[in-house]
Symmetry: C2
Subunit: 105 residues, 2 copies
């Protein structure tokens, strides 16, 4: 643990705003579907579009949301653009969610 870092972190308004943005990016089922697909490796937009079954422009917008909060990155190779997950720890979030739901009432 770094110096100046304590277990009980002091959180500021900006921290909550930033965290909320990440959660908001993950708050749509189609984006989660995309994130899940990317967890198995990079995919181009056409593949993701086929996967989610919406208009490509819509999928492109979803990818922009994920990109803007740093969840995915894109790389153009000739005419295609490949997206991939930037944050391996995102998969932990999914695991935590499984736990969340299986704790049930």
């Amino acid at each position: 643990m770094k110096a100046g870092t304590s277990k009980k972190t002091v959180k500021k308004s900006a921290d909550f705003r930033r965290a909320a943005e990440v959660f908001k990016a993950l708050s749509n089922p189609n984006r989660l579907l995309i994130v899940d697909a990317l967890s198995e490796g990079e995919r181009c937009v056409a593949d993701l579009t086929a996967l989610v079954g919406l208009d490509m422009s819509t999928v492109s917008a979803h990818l922009a949301v994920l990109r803007n909060v740093g969840i995915v990155s894109d790389e153009r190779r000739s005419t295609q653009i490949f997206y991939s997950l930037r944050r391996p720890c995102l998969m932990n979030v999914f695991c935590c969610l499984d736990e969340f739901h299986s704790e049930g009432d």
Copy 2:
């Protein structure tokens, strides 16, 4: 690990919808502020209202959102209603988010 459970879980549309609802509940800075406060113990609505600095009706609505996805539970004691976190693992999500941001570029 239970029988019938594999590492590579097959996820259905309903799973993504349910997960998205939890993320949506966490996608607002004021709700995150509330969750953070509750991570230190139960609080009544008046206390949470003072904390977030919005109208009590607004805070009540935020609490309803968190309650509807099972993140918090409420218990009336005389005229006050105390809210508390139902899911300890939610704090793991916060840890994961810290990790998320500190990986950042």
